[in-house]
């Protein structure tokens, strides 16, 4: 199952989510949206909006499911931890 973490470099919850995934030995990709520039950033913001309906972070995509915010319970369920 693919896991994608959309994050901001400034966001404490994104750091918590990253730490949780690392500690749980989950393989994932991460995109720090605020560190992107120009069209690349615009594309990433548009994708986050499409996935989550907003611009709040972190946005964690597990397979087909989307989690907005650091919701440990939901992550546990979806990742089978």
């Amino acid at each position: 199952m693919s896991v994608m973490l959309y994050a901001l470099s400034t966001c404490p919850y994104c750091r918590m989510a990253k730490k949780y995934l690392d500690e749980s030995d989950v393989a994932y990709d991460i995109l720090e949206v605020d560190l992107l520039e120009g069209a690349e950033k615009d594309d990433a913001v548009a994708r986050v909006k499409e996935l989550s309906g907003g611009t709040s972070f972190p946005v964690i995509v597990v397979g087909e499911e989307v989690i907005v915010g650091f919701n440990k319970k939901r992550m546990k369920e979806l990742l089978g931890l």
């Binding site: 901001l8 400034t10 966001c11 404490p12 919850y13 994104c14 918590m16 949206v33 605020d34 615009d42 913001v45 986050v48 907003g54 611009t55 709040s56 972070f57 907005v68 915010g69 650091f70 919701n71 440990k72």
Partner: protein, 223 residues
């Protein structure tokens, strides 16, 4: 999306975490919030805000992205409570948890818990302290997209739509006489308890109000 013009810096060079706390605390208190009890977490968030301030000139939320559209970005200037009043009242904290509702004892319980209310949920939104609105007065409050007139008659509080059905004047600019507010533009009168006016079919919406621990809360439906 094009890059917005640089924002004029709102804080002096070398702004510290203590400066931001001193600046934010009084007015989040009037909105019914206080700093999270988790001081380490608070310092982490505010340190991020200072980094953002250095880069952009203003203290944007570290957990939401700036899009470059000034109209959109202003909604995430910290404290962003007024723009998200219903959601935060239901979550009992702001998005990142820097601020928690004044009556939350342990902010640690709310860290990372994201339960945004679903559309249709009724939420009691804090709008002011009892002492902020003297008896016999009426003022405008905004909750999300709703413009509301909050009136105080004696010790009772009433909330009704701020928009007169005649010519859309702001009722909160009108004159409150007993339980009636008179529209400032053409004198239409509304009963603040019921929203009733003598003009047929032109009653305005009212909202339930409660007073708890010196705080005035208006009940709205999340859209």
């Amino acid at each position: 999306m094009s890059a917005s013009k640089p924002v004029r810096r709102r804080f002096h060079e070398g702004t510290t975490i203590a400066d931001l706390k001193a600046y934010m605390e009084p007015f989040v208190a009037s909105l019914g919030y206080r700093l999270n009890t988790e001081t380490e977490f608070v310092d982490e968030v505010l340190a991020s805000e200072i980094e953002i301030l250095e880069a952009t000139g203003d203290v944007y939320c570290p957990c939401r992205v700036r899009t470059g559209d000034p109209k959109e970005d202003v909604r995430i200037v910290c404290p962003c409570i007024p723009f998200h009043a219903e959601q935060f009242a239901a979550m009992r904290k702001c998005w990142c948890g820097l601020f928690i509702r004044a009556d939350v004892v342990d902010g640690a319980d709310l860290l990372g818990v994201i339960e945004e209310p679903e559309a249709g949920t009724e939420v009691d939104v804090p709008v002011c302290r009892v002492a902020d609105l003297p008896a016999g007065s009426i003022r405008h409050i905004k909750i999300g997209k709703s413009d509301i007139a909050l009136a105080r008659v004696g010790d009772e509080f009433y909330a009704l739509s701020n928009v007169c059905r005649h010519a859309f004047a702001p009722l909160a600019d009108g004159v409150l006489e007993g339980h009636e507010v008179m529209c400032p533009w053409h004198g239409w009168r509304y009963d603040v308890r019921t929203g009733h006016t003598d003009h047929p079919g032109a009653d305005v919406k009212t909202y339930p109000v409660t007073v708890r621990d010196g705080e005035v809360l208006v009940s709205v439906t999340v859209r």
